[in-house]
């Protein structure tokens, strides 16, 4: 087939991708948008088979077969709570592919030293570096969310020194690859990129992983676009750039939804700020001891005789995979005539929007889910708020303590309800590392337990009321 037809097919595919992303950003059209993008992708891949320069097919068909099996199985088997780490893995392999393409193309072109066109060389270096960073960074993000790697920010001595040495090494490898066109320097660059990817993600806490994954997603897009420059392929340039640009904007939006500037998320763990915050919180907890705890029976009584109960599910619920339990408790209360609602903070769960997915999976009716703006005016008329594994998103300090690290972050005003029940494993501060005055509020009672275990006890107690 002539190149013209293939390029026209790529154009059509690109239009599908653009329409797909457009539709993905509206709730009503999102699902069809995903499929339109998939069709565009199938067209682009299908027409690539017809490119004349290609002479061996069995190897690529074998690769596609293996990749499809792995892709289908992992996408079907993954639990909804594990979706964020799955997205991290899918993102990582994309970045890895871009880096491998760069390495292979360099190997093909490099023997004829001096013949490597400048733009191809730049593209190869960029894809190799950014693709590798995305691959290894995504693996660490996966490890953190899967609890293979501790989710807390990992900081160690001389971090800044190591980063500086690493930066110089990478710079040196880039310059030497460009001058000598020797594969060994490209290999050094890719090993350095491995270290950079790991060191970039390790110091960032588990709760911030969504933003990191989103950023690495944009990185992979740019690495793919760069591979398009290397191979002179417009479909790659368009597809990769669309993701690079929209992914960057999405990352910024996620940061805004969390009330944390991107810079603070990415580099906030450098230095000892989180530890200092934690120490203060512990001191405060030890110091005034005015926290009230209550038994599951007491709380069940309060819930069963309430007119309106609002559940505030958070990160801890996602970790404990307790979405079905909270829904069971909600249904039980509805059976007793209680008006049950769920308040969803924009960044509740492990990713913005993740809590909506989890509660939808547990069959919580859509009309019981309330966004922050809708539910906040309702709290003064709410009898009991049950906070399940959330902390920073219900911290009134964000509203009334100027100077507090989370001041200005949009929060759920649960402290305006008549009673607050907080289910939490301990008094430890949330990711922001700041103390939560809500826990010491006289109308708050604490139930210290794992979210799943606590909800199980409450269900039992409510049944017995």
């Amino acid at each position: 087939m002539s190149r013209t037809w293939i390029d026209l097919a790529y154009l059509f595919a690109a239009i599908c991708l653009i329409l797909g992303i457009k539709r993905l950003s509206h709730p009503r059209t999102a699902r069809s948008g995903n499929w339109i993008a998939a069709v565009g992708m199938a067209i682009a891949v299908g027409f690539t088979f017809a490119i004349e320069e290609i002479d061996t097919y069995w190897l690529m068909l074998a690769g596609i077969l293996v990749g499809s099996i792995v892709g289908v199985v992992s996408a079907r088997m993954v639990r909804m709570t594990a979706i964020p780490q799955m997205v991290a893995l899918f993102n990582g392999v994309g970045g890895g592919a871009a880096a491998l393409i760069a390495a292979a193309e360099f190997h093909r072109l490099a023997p004829e030293a001096g013949q490597l066109a400048g733009d191809h060389l730049v593209g190869i270096l960029f894809s190799a570096l950014v693709g590798s960073v995305s691959f290894w960074g995504s693996l660490v993000a996966f490890g953190k969310l899967q609890d293979f790697v501790p989710g807390r920010p990992i900081v160690f001595a001389a971090q800044n020194l190591i980063n500086a040495v690493l930066g110089l090494t990478l710079l040196g490898a880039i310059v030497l690859t460009a001058i000598t066109e020797q594969g060994v320097w490209l290999a050094v660059l890719m090993v350095g990129a491995l270290a950079l990817g790991v060191l970039f993600v390790l110091p960032i806490g588990g709760a911030d992983m969504p933003v990191v994954i989103s950023l690495l997603n944009a990185f992979t897009g740019l690495a793919a676009a760069s591979a398009g420059f290397v191979l002179d392929n417009t479909a790659l340039i368009i597809g990769g750039t669309l993701v690079g640009a929209s992914g960057t904007l999405l990352t910024i939006k996620m940061g805004q939804a969390m009330g944390r500037p991107l810079r603070q998320t990415l580099f906030g763990a450098f230095g000892a700020a989180p530890e200092a915050g934690a120490v203060t919180a512990m001191a405060a907890a030890d110091g005034d001891g005015s926290v009230r705890t209550a038994s599951a029976d007491d709380i069940a009584f309060m819930l069963a005789y309430a007119r309106r109960v609002v559940f505030v599910p958070g990160y801890g619920l996602a970790v404990a995979q307790a979405q079905h339990d909270v829904r069971n408790l909600g249904e039980l209360l509805e059976g007793k005539g209680v008006d049950v609602r769920y308040a969803i903070h924009p960044v509740a769960g492990r990713m913005p929007g993740h809590m909506n997915v989890l509660l939808a999976e547990a069959n919580v009716p859509y009309d019981e889910l309330f966004e922050m703006e809708q539910i906040n005016p309702e709290f003064p008329q709410t009898d009991v708020v049950v906070v399940v594994g959330a902390n920073d998103v219900v911290n009134p300090a964000a509203r009334n303590q100027p100077g507090n690290p989370i001041y200005g972050m949009p929060i759920l005003d649960v402290d305006k309800a008549h009673n607050v029940v907080v289910i939490k494993r301990s008094l430890s501060p949330g990711f922001a590392g700041v103390d939560n005055p809500l826990f010491y509020d006289p109308k708050t009672v604490m139930l210290f337990d794992d979210a799943k275990a606590a909800l199980g006890k409450l269900i039992g107690s409510v049944k017995a009321v």
Binding site: R28, H107, I237, T241, L250
Partner: protein, 104 residues
């Protein structure tokens, strides 16, 4: 600078603006599916991997290209399927949707 590179840079620059415009207004609820959907789209890197493995001269290039094809395919297939699973959750709510428009 040759004409092809200029054409590619043109496409790149326009795609940057389109990418920014596309998601200028997106509800928080859709952040995760949107990230996952765009994640699948950069799987288009598969095309590059196919070109590499289809035109490879040496075994090293074949090996690198093969792994890249596997990776790219996982990215696309897994990415679109997992995004669909997420969006399916939202769609199930339609029958209980009280506003009568039949949409979540």
């Amino acid at each position: 600078m040759n004409a092809q590179l200029v054409a590619e840079l043109t496409v790149f620059a326009l795609a940057v603006f389109v990418g920014f415009e596309l998601i200028s207004k997106v509800p928080t609820m859709l952040h995760t599916p949107l990230m996952s959907g765009t994640n699948a789209i950069h799987g288009i890197v598969l095309i590059g991997a196919m070109l590499i493995v289809g035109t490879a001269d040496s075994n090293l290039e074949k090996a690198l290209g093969f792994v890249a094809v596997v990776f790219g395919t996982i990215n696309i297939v897994g990415g679109f399927l997992v995004t669909d699973r997420m969006l399916e959750m939202f769609k199930q709510r339609q029958p209980e949707d009280g506003d009568g428009d039949g949409e979540p």
